[in-house]
């Protein structure tokens, strides 16, 4: 037998796939159960029971983190490890790294499930985990990346299938986003302040938050879609060409769309415009991908009736299409004015998570379990029932949220008397109107969870008594032949297409951002580069094509270029914002730094997750201004680490709540919200009246904030304590005069101090040049 015909057998590491799969099913059930419970808490405030650990605002991050990182995270780790081994014909590079990845990830999830209900949070959505856990996530992500790329290095298939491209984009982009958005300075072992504040923090947070959707909930699942849908349909993807366009378009464009979460706010207008336009442009690749997936099922429709896998995939792709149509729609400023801060966004998110992620997960699991345990699925009927009950659950959920959100938006924005007064000035009236719809959400959630539990039972019965098997594959014993020499890391960058693209981008940035001479030079330079690129392409176009073909067999250069593509979008948005929008450049109004007691109150506000129901951002919209007061200026939150603009209003905006009510009102409201606001759905916070304010932590916190640029005068710990005691006694005296009695060292006093501070800023006189310009 010749050397070339000798074969060797590779046994895949499917054990790790089984572990991640089961973890996803279990954590998914827990995450959804918490979701159903917190949804019920919004309808029945009594379910909060006055217990801090199960209060809505502390449990909500448990739900979001569980479904994003535990359900979907474990699901795509399982899928990526299963498909990568088969697509590159190599066993996972390291058993140790695989196990470290699995157990490390589960430990992080468990730690989050413990710390978040304790109120240990960074106060940023989907980025709530405290800094030691952030470091752990980064380390484990690096372990995953090393294991993945090491496997690619050992691959026996030179070409990289499009699914692998999506995995690479996921790994590099999530790493970048996570690190930048979690840059913080610790004040203790469990607390830190993010290095960005105010508008900078808002932009970085939603650059991360939006792309958590893009690169955690979308790109890895699309990679799985490009593997599992063709496998389930037993035919190749409808159009590989379309998948190529889908990948590059999505990777280049998605990263820019983050600012659409901050439309009509104090975010600079150019960023809002960028976010809106790039979001609209996302329609094309998203629908291209969705249609590519659906058309792959052509010819397999007859099997849809009996095959739950195909059913789940078809429905998941349909929900992907719906969610990616709705997302850009909500990113249009005028539609966002109606939908933002309402349940519409919750409906939109859940059509993606329940429909796209949940159903893709279920389809993939139903495909994998019989193969990984070498046993027929216990019950196809139960799987089909799961599909239908889950589908009805989703429709209940998103239908209710659409109706609720649009009702909420219209009522909150409605005016009467020729637009001079609000038609529904009482926020609670609006809330009471949508409560029945919110109840339908709970029912939908229960149905969806029931389906998921059926799947768990089905798997339990399938796996019980079965023998796990690992897939194997025969490959030639010698090294695979490459069609061409791979590209090195340096030549990945120093080649005509990349050099011309980078130069054009640099000149266009100079044109966009620069003043007079720089701007004109940028425009001229960009024009020259385009002409040169065209000329080069005309004379040596084949080189461009050859380079691209080589790229598809070169994992590291591919990764570097993908990183450049995603990093460019973030850099162009974030760098000018960080440089320009600092306190020293702020006009009109600027925030007064919090007193030590107010700062302690603010940290209590963040600990309790108040930002999850109350925004601190009055938008540049007439109904917002009529309801809450003058619109929020960029400088009014410039020292806020983290920013607290919020993303959902289950209660009214608090940007100008300071001074609106007296201290006694806040005292009563936090003890029993219905005493001051009949019909309120807010939970009571009785522990604030017994727990003492953590004054000892303030020196460290103030020190860190000073390092971050907040203009605190130097204070000794004794001075801080003195300042706290003085303000506490003033509030206690005011409360006593209003017939309320409290001891000064309790947390409620600090929280009242913070709430009464909100909206109190310094008005900056117009600069001399601005006055001259106005004249």
């Amino acid at each position: 037998m010749s050397a070339s015909s000798q074969k060797t057998t590779i046994e895949f590491n499917d054990g790790i796939v089984r572990m991640f799969l089961l973890a996803s099913v279990i954590w998914g059930a827990i995450g959804m159960l918490v979701g159903v419970y917190i949804a019920a808490e919004l309808n029945f405030w009594q379910l909060n029971h006055g217990i801090p650990y199960i209060t809505f605002s502390r449990l909500r991050p448990v739900h979001t983190n569980a479904v994003i990182f535990a359900l979907v995270g474990n699901m795509f780790f399982a899928g990526i490890y299963y498909t990568t081994q088969r697509l590159v014909k190599a066993r996972l590079a390291s058993n140790f790294l695989s196990k470290l990845h699995f157990w490390g990830w589960q430990a992080i999830i468990l730690a989050a499930a413990i710390t978040l209900p304790m109120g240990l949070t960074r106060g940023k959505e989907y980025a709530e985990m405290i800094w030691p856990l952030n470091i752990a996530v980064t380390v484990i992500w690096v372990v995953f990346a090393v294991n993945f790329f090491w496997t690619l290095k050992r691959r026996r298939e030179p070409s990289l299938y499009v699914a692998i491209w999506f995995y690479i984009a996921t790994i590099v982009t999530v790493g970048m986003l996570y690190i930048v958005n979690h840059l913080s300075i610790p004040t203790s072992w469990t607390h830190s302040y993010p290095i960005f504040g105010g508008v900078q923090d808002a932009l970085v947070q939603w650059w991360y938050g939006h792309n958590a959707v893009a690169f955690v909930l979308t790109t890895p699942i699309l990679g799985l879609m490009y593997y599992f849908v063709p496998k389930a349909a037993e035919r190749p993807v409808y159009s590989y060409r379309l998948s190529v366009i889908h990948f590059w378009s999505l990777v280049f464009v998605y990263i820019w769309a983050g600012p659409h979460h901050l439309l009509n706010t104090a975010l600079p207008n150019w960023l809002q415009t960028l976010g809106m336009v790039f979001s609209l442009m996302l329609w094309a690749p998203s629908w291209g991908g969705m249609l590519n997936g659906l058309f792959t099922l052509r010819g397999a429709w007859d099997r849809m009736r009996a095959d739950p896998v195909l059913k789940f995939f078809a429905a998941a792709l349909t929900f992907y299409g719906m969610a990616t149509f709705e997302g850009p729609l909500l990113a249009i400023k005028s539609i966002n004015a109606l939908g933002h801060y309402t349940d519409w966004v919750i409906g939109h998110v859940h059509s993606g998570t329940l429909g796209w992620n949940g159903f893709m997960a279920a389809g993939m699991f139903y495909y994998l379990v019989p193969r990984l345990w070498n046993k027929k699925l216990y019950s196809n009927t139960l799987a089909n029932l799961h599909f239908w009950i889950g589908l009805i659950g989703i429709l209940f959920y998103i239908g209710a949220m659409w109706a609720s959100g649009i009702t909420e938006g219209y009522m909150l924005n409605a005016t009467a008397e020729h637009g001079t007064v609000l038609a529904y000035p009482n926020f609670i009236e609006v809330l009471q109107t949508i409560l029945p719809l919110m109840l339908f959400r709970v029912i939908g959630g229960v149905l969806y969870l029931s389906g998921w539990l059926m799947m768990g039972y089905n798997f339990y019965r399938t796996i019980r008594g079965s023998q796990p098997v690992n897939g194997t594959i025969e490959v030639p014993a010698d090294e695979p032949e490459r069609r061409s020499a791979p590209i090195g890391a340096i030549s990945a960058i120093l080649n005509p297409p990349v050099v011309f693209s980078c130069l054009a981008a640099i000149f266009l940035c100079a044109w966009m951002f620069g003043d007079a001479f720089v701007s004109i030079s940028g425009l001229v330079g960009a024009a020259i580069i385009l002409v040169l690129a065209y000329a080069h392409f005309q004379t040596r176009g084949k080189k461009w094509g050859d380079w691209y073909d080589k790229l598809l067999e070169s994992a590291i250069p591919f990764t570097i270029l993908t990183f450049i593509a995603v990093a460019a979008g973030g850099a162009i948005q974030i760098i000018p914002t960080v440089i320009m929008h600092r306190a020293s450049n702020v006009e009109d109004r600027i925030e007064v730094p919090y007193t030590p007691l107010e700062l302690a109150g603010r940290d209590i506000y963040i600990r309790e997750g108040c930002y999850l129901c109350h925004s601190q951002m009055i938008r540049t919209l007439v109904p917002d201004v009529m309801r809450y007061g003058d619109y929020s200026r960029l400088g009014e939150s410039i020292y806020d680490h983290p920013f607290q603009w919020g993303s959902k209003r289950n209660g009214p905006d608090l940007a100008r709540i300071g001074g609106k009510y007296n201290d006694a009102w806040h005292f009563d409201h936090m003890m029993d919200p219905r005493r001051t606001s009949p019909g309120s759905i807010m939970p009571p916070f009785p522990w604030l009246y017994t727990q003492k304010t953590d004054v000892a932590a303030l020196p460290s916190k103030i020190h860190v904030l000073r390092e971050l640029g907040v203009p605190y005068a130097p204070m000794t710990p004794a001075q801080i304590r003195q300042d706290v005691e003085t303000q506490e006694s003033q509030i206690v005296a005011a409360l006593r005069s209003q017939g309320r009695y409290a001891t000064p060292d309790k947390e409620i006093i600090a929280l009242i101090a913070y709430l009464q501070k909100l909206g109190k800023t310094i008005i900056i006189p117009p600069a001399a040049h601005a006055v001259a310009e106005a004249k």
């Binding site: 498909t83 070409s159 590989y240 190529v244 464009v253 690749p285 070498n374 951002f513």
Partner: protein, 60 residues
């Protein structure tokens, strides 16, 4: 620096530029995808089907 983008009267070209940039990316990769040869496409799209031993597959 950055004065132009901060001034609202300049913001209109940001939207146009965003459109042009994303449209250029779409066109470039559309062109690249169209240039892919049939043999190359066939090889890529069949990668998921170069699979493990049939005897160890268990269809649901």
């Amino acid at each position: 620096m950055f004065q132009r983008i901060v001034m609202d009267h300049s913001v209109v070209f940001v939207g146009t530029l965003a459109f042009v940039v994303s449209a250029s990316i779409y066109v470039a990769f559309f062109w690249r995808a169209m240039r892919m040869k049939s043999k190359q496409l066939e090889q890529f799209e069949n990668l998921p089907f170069v699979d493990e031993r049939p005897s160890e597959r268990h269809d649901a």
